[in-house]
Symmetry: C2
C-alpha cells in the first residue's frame, strides 16, 4: 500500500474541497495495514488520496488496533492516466485478480473482459467477477500505483458480438495491437498516442479470432517466440508499446 | 505448458543424440497435464524438449491416466537466451515463485536473490528457497517459454558483501540498471547488449542501498511515478530495457 485511499464517507461532512485541513477516520483493512504493516506512529505523515479525487498527506492523530484518525490536507492531482485500454480474454480467477491489480497500478482506466474459444466457460461463474471482488482488486491497484481514479471494467461474454459491434467504438482513435506468436510484424516500441492492447487466453486466440480482430483494425504483433503467462504478458506488452 | 519437458531418464538409454526417433515414457504431473489439460489423444504430435537439450516433436503412442509413451524426434535448438541478468531483492514466497516462472519464461539464465533492508528476514527461511521448490518453478518457466535451458539461481543473504564483493563480477561487461522512483534519469529503451536489472523489495531499496549499487556501476533509472508490484515490475522493466 503506497497510498492510503480515503473514501468520501471517511470524512465527517465529506472530503475537503480546497487545501484546508480535514479530519478522516479509517477502520478495517486499511487501518490494520497502517498500524500493522506500515508500523505508523502518532504524528507520522502518510501519503493519502481521496477515491476519485486529489492526493495529499494525512497526519496520524490517533491510532488504535483497527482505527486511525488523520488530519488530511489534499494538495495535488492524481497522476495522469496511461492512455492504454486493455481487452483481456478472461483468465482463471486468481490470475484475473492479479492482472486487475497490475493494470490498475499501471494507470489504465478502461478494461474489457471478453470471452474467447480457449476461455473456460466456468470462469464466467467466478465470484472474482462480482462487483465487490472486482472493486477490491481495483482499490489494491490504486493503492499500489498511488492513484485515486478507478478504471472501468466491463464484461463481454460473447466474443464475436463484442468484436464486431463494440470493439470499433472501444478503440476510438487508438491504435490496437494483439500480441500473437504467428504475427509477422514485430511489436512496435514507444508508440505515440492512445492505444488498445488485446491479450489472449493461455493457449492464445484461435486463428478465427485473430482474423476477426484484424478486420476491425487490431494489428497482430510479434513479441518474440516465447509465450508468457497472461499476468506477465500484460505489463510486458504495455512496457514495450508505450 | 507450451512444451512437454523431457528428462534424460524419461528415455530408455538416454535422449537421442541425432535426429533419429527415440522412445520416451513420462509419468506424474507432466503425464496428467498431457492427458487432462491438453486432452491429447493417440497419434497427436506434442511440442517436446529435452532438459538442457534440443526441441522437437513427440507423437503419442500410448496414453493412460498418469502415463504417456512418446515417439520423440529432436530437430532444433532451444531459443536464444535473453542477455539479461536479474538481481532480485527476495520477495515473499508466493511472489518469488511467480517471478521465477516469469523470468525463466522470458529467457533469463542468471538470477541472484539478495537481501535488502526491507526484505523480511523470515522470507529466507521459506521452503520456496529449497532446491526442490526452486527447480519446480524453473521447470514451469521453461515449459511456459518453450525453452530447455535452466537459469542458475543463487542466494545472497547479506546485501553489502554481495554488492561490494560479487556484483562487479556478476555485471561483467553488462550495463546495470535499478528502477527507482527518485531517479532523475529516465529508463532507457531498447538498450543494445547484455544488461543486469536490479529489482528492489516492496517498499523499495533504502537510500544507502541505492548509493552502494550506484558505486559499483548500477544506474538508478526512473520508470515513472507509479510503483508496481515486484511481479509486474520484472517483466515491465525487462520489456522497456530490451
Amino acid at each position: 500500500m503506497n497510498l492510503l485511499l480515503l473514501h468520501a464517507d471517511d470524512f465527517e461532512g465529506g472530503p475537503p474541497s480546497g487545501s484546508e485541513e480535514a479530519r478522516a477516520s479509517v477502520r478495517g483493512r486499511r487501518a490494520e495495514h497502517v498500524g500493522g504493516i506500515h508500523r505508523a506512529e502518532l504524528g507520522d505523515d502518510l501519503r493519502v488520496g481521496v477515491l476519485g479525487g486529489r492526493l495529499g498527506v494525512g497526519r496520524v492523530l490517533a491510532l488504535t488496533p483497527g482505527h486511525v484518525e488523520l488530519a488530511v490536507r489534499l494538495d495535488r492531482e492524481p497522476p495522469e492516466a496511461l492512455p492504454v485500454r486493455l481487452v483481456l480474454a478472461l483468465p482463471r480467477p486468481p490470475v484475473l485478480k492479479r492482472v486487475l491489480i497490475h493494470a490498475t497500478s499501471l494507470g489504465l482506466k478502461r478494461i474489457a473482459l471478453i470471452h474467447s474459444r480457449r476461455v473456460e466457460k466456468s470462469y464466467w461463474q467466478s465470484e472474482a467477477l462480482s462487483e465487490k471482488t472486482l472493486m477490491a482488486q481495483l482499490l489494491l491497484g490504486l493503492e499500489q500505483g498511488g492513484d485515486t481514479v478507478l478504471p472501468r471494467v466491463t464484461q463481454h461474454r460473447r466474443f464475436r458480438p463484442f468484436v464486431e459491434d463494440e470493439l470499433g467504438a472501444f478503440l476510438m482513435d487508438a491504435q490496437g495491437f494483439v500480441p500473437h506468436p504467428d504475427a509477422t510484424v514485430e511489436c512496435p516500441r514507444d508508440t505515440a498516442g492512445p492505444l488498445t492492447v488485446v491479450i489472449g487466453p493461455e493457449g492464445g486466440f484461435i486463428p478465427f479470432e485473430i482474423e476477426r480482430l484484424t478486420e476491425v483494425g487490431v494489428q497482430p504483433v510479434n513479441l518474440g517466440s516465447r509465450v508468457l503467462r497472461v499476468e506477465a504478458a500484460v505489463p510486458y506488452a504495455i512496457a514495450r508499446l508505450t
